[in-house]
């Protein structure tokens, strides 16, 4: 039967047509065998264009089609659903990427770009000529989601999923929930503290029977794919069975002779080897830090709930989707960066915030009273020379907010902000106004002339050429210098490695598309939420966690999930069962079959992932991968090789 192929070439509002002569491409496509119509479109993804394609199909003018537009990563599903809406099998549509791989890549060479677009469209036509209708494969779905990270984003996502009736396994690497937000005192806009917010989320989590929370839990292995992942989680024990009776835990902590740096307070204080972060940190049960515990046995005498017989274990869970909300680390300045680690009164913003939170009547640093504070902005963000070119978004607001709160808590403080331009965007602008009104001083410099920190005769001086006053030199004699450090990805990136999550240029986890698919990753079934996607504040983290929860829900909401029927097929006549394919298959999807009397390989279709690893190892060339058959690939190669 003669094909009636429709070819639709997108201008992408100039993104393509500014560099590719789309009319020339259309003319070349129209000349190809089997092409019934070829059109250009301003935006192929627009509703009106989709309707036009569907109409061509429904009227019988077209029985298969090619769309030449942006990367298939963006709109392949869009046009597949156009086909389905019009009653055509979605595999009778083939995509040509003439934006990312043509017009944008060769915007310096319009002639070359046009010639290449012609070739890509011709190759797609060659492939669609051979396209067959293929029905999807249905797999059983696990109605459960693994949420990695019990910070505010992870807890919110877990609660949201659980309310939709999904089983949630919420795993947290630390022994306490709340992530970074639990380390913060008063949060801006509302008067809530980080602890208040974490408490509210934690109450929601434990109240919901659909959620199983594991603390001290780390993802160590993952296999399977969307709809059906098998994950292994390693759980480190607390070595404390339950809450001790009144005051006994306090005494158990007191008698512990081991003191280590307290990371919860960003190393400005010490903690014991048996600890909880602060008295109401959740879960309420304390933890023994086995890395530092000397097993002296003193705590055991104080509280009978301490149990050193607990052992590490690995649990295996089956889930349909994985939601990653692994959070961020604060940037650690390099030694000597604005005097960090050189002068003992230079600290980071997280340290300052903990200092304000744990100080009672007087603000002191290393025993000396603090009155004048210099804040140096954009440390580790917006770097001209360095890895972190991005703005960390939350720091301007957080610093101003912390300065206002410190001023309310302790009298007589003077605040000097050494900025690179304040970015308290949206409604947060009022805080900038409030700080200015209270007499806090804002100075500004450009990136090429940053402030200098020096020490002389025991005084710490911060000097700037202030561009707001015609580069006048201003010097502040500061008791405390606070480096306003931005956000960086977690140093421990094992989750990303295990799940094979790609990272962006900023080294945070990368979404498929910022605007179109902001919480999905290229790994089907894995979504990302919160600050592991990139710097964001609490509000933004919660927003993204709700989006990711809905997206993860969409993968598990039905009992079955239609998966791509792109699987390997064996030619029983050619196959001689040599086992090479079965050995090459990483999913054990190929087995020996002698049911027809002849020993051949058989593909277990729902298990086959369509990777094609079995293809090149077959000495008889008896395996074809659907939509990547020898005929299809060789036709495309032939067309691409013979340029018009």
């Amino acid at each position: 039967m003669k094909r009636k192929i429709g070819v639709y070439i997108c201008h992408c509002g100039g993104n393509i047509s500014d560099y590719v002569d789309v009319e020339k491409v259309r003319q070349a496509a129209a000349k190809e065998a089997g092409v019934a119509l070829a059109r250009t479109m301003e935006f192929a993804c627009a509703d009106s264009s989709q309707k036009e394609i569907a109409q061509d199909i429904q009227e019988g003018a077209v029985d298969s089609f090619v769309v030449a537009s942006c990367s298939p990563k963006l709109h392949l599903p869009t046009f597949q659903s156009v086909a389905e809406r019009a009653g055509l099998n979605k595999y009778q549509y083939v995509h040509a990427n003439i934006r990312e791989q043509v017009s944008w890549a060769h915007s310096d060479d319009k002639e070359g770009a046009t010639a290449k677009a012609v070739q890509f469209v011709r190759a797609a036509i060659a492939k669609v000529r051979l396209a067959k209708a293929i029905e999807p494969i249905e797999i059983q779905t696990q109605r459960a989601v693994l949420v990695v990270g019990a910070g505010v984003a992870g807890m919110k996502a877990a609660t949201s999923l659980a309310k939709m009736g999904v089983n949630v396994y919420l795993i947290e690497k630390e022994h306490f929930v709340g992530g970074r937000v639990s380390q913060w005192d008063v949060l801006c806009i509302t008067e809530e503290t980080g602890k208040d917010l974490v408490t509210r989320f934690y109450i929601d989590v434990v109240a919901n029977q659909n959620i199983t929370l594991f603390t001290g839990a780390e993802l160590v292995e993952c296999s399977g794919s969307m709809g059906n992942f098998t994950v292994k989680v390693r759980i480190t024990p607390r070595y404390v069975k339950d809450i001790c009776e009144k005051d006994r835990m306090r005494r158990a902590i007191e008698v512990c002779p081991v003191e280590v740096v307290d990371e919860f307070n960003f190393s400005i204080t010490k903690r014991k080897a048996i600890y909880h972060n602060f008295p109401s940190q959740y879960p309420l049960v304390a933890v023994v830090d086995m890395k530092h515990c000397t097993r002296c046995g003193k705590c055991e005498k104080e509280c009978e709930k301490i149990d050193f017989s607990q052992e590490e274990k690995v649990v295996e869970l089956k889930v349909g989707s994985i939601l990653v909300a692994a959070g961020f680390d604060p940037y650690t300045p390099k030694n000597g960066e604005f005097g960090y680690q050189v002068y003992d009164n230079v600290i980071t913003l997280p340290q300052f915030k903990r200092l304000v939170a744990i100080s009672d009547t007087e603000l002191k640093w290393k025993g000396r009273p603090v009155q004048t504070i210099a804040y140096i902005y954009c440390v580790g963000s917006r770097q001209l020379e360095g890895e972190n070119k991005y703005c960390s978004r939350y720091c301007c607001l957080t610093t101003i907010c912390a300065a206002i709160k410190a001023g309310e808590k302790f009298s007589g403080l003077s605040h000097f902000h050494f900025t690179r331009g304040i970015r308290t965007y949206g409604k947060y602008e009022t805080f900038f106004y409030e700080a200015s009104k209270r007499g806090q001083v804002f100075l500004q410099s450009f990136e090429d002339d940053p402030p200098q920190v020096t020490q002389k005769d025991g005084r710490t001086l911060v000097r700037i050429h202030d561009i707001l006053t015609s580069r006048r030199e201003v010097e502040v004699d500061a008791d405390l210098v606070v480096l306003v450090t931005g956000m960086v990805p977690r140093t421990d990136g094992r989750i990303g490695e295990i799940l094979k999550l790609p990272r962006g240029r900023d080294r945070f986890y990368n979404e498929i598309h910022m605007k179109l698919r902001p919480v999905e990753t290229v790994i089907d079934g894995v979504t990302i939420a919160g600050a592991c996607r990139g710097p964001q504040n609490v509000v933004e983290a919660i927003n993204s966690s709700l989006s990711a929860a809905i997206k993860s829900y969409s993968f598990v909401r039905r009992d079955t999930l239609a998966i791509e029927p792109i699987v390997a097929e064996i030619d029983p006549d050619a196959c001689t069962w040599c086992e090479a394919c079965a050995k090459a298959c990483p999913f054990d999807a190929i087995a020996r079959d002698a049911s027809t009397g002849k020993e051949i390989a058989r593909v277990n279709t729902p298990v086959c992932k369509g990777c094609g690893m079995c293809l090149p190892v077959c000495p008889a060339n008896a395996i074809q991968l659907r939509t990547f058959s020898d005929e299809e690939v060789q036709q495309m190669i032939g067309v691409l090789a013979h340029e018009l």
Binding site: E100, G112, P502, R503, G612, N621
Partner: protein, 133 residues
């Protein structure tokens, strides 16, 4: 127009749908230019490329074939690196039988954000093939 009127070597790239093809897309997004006679066919995994597809490409007139491999990032498992290596080795042997210069088939791992590396490979491969012509 007569074939071969355009400058530069003709290169066929086998990219992978989830890893190296996104990197090639991003090269476009970042307007990192490379020679336009680089043509891509995306396959699910670099260890799915059949040696006879590569030989077919040479027979049809491609100057070079580049496998933009998944490397250790392959979503289908770690064995990808070894298997892609094996198929390249097998193809090199077949190329030798046909007196084809082994340098015309190249393979390198291109991670999903390795756009700059891809562009660098395309520029140098194109230049090398041009010199070898």
């Amino acid at each position: 127009m007569p074939e071969g009127r355009r400058d530069g070597a003709k290169i066929l790239v086998f990219s992978t749908e989830k890893i190296s093809d996104p990197a090639i897309d991003m090269a476009g997004l970042l307007k990192l230019h490379y020679p336009p006679r680089v043509y891509t066919i995306a396959v699910p995994c670099s260890s799915a490329v059949k040696p006879h597809w590569i030989l077919h490409a040479f027979a049809q007139g491609f100057d070079g074939v580049f496998i933009a491999a998944d490397g250790s990032d392959c979503p289908y498992g770690e064995s990808c690196t070894e298997k892609t290596g094996a198929l390249v080795q097998k193809t090199h042997a077949l190329m030798k039988e046909q007196n084809l210069d082994a340098a015309r088939l190249k393979m390198a791992a291109i991670c999903s954000v390795c756009s700059e590396s891809f562009v660098k490979h395309m520029k140098s491969f194109s230049e090398a093939l041009q010199k070898g012509k």
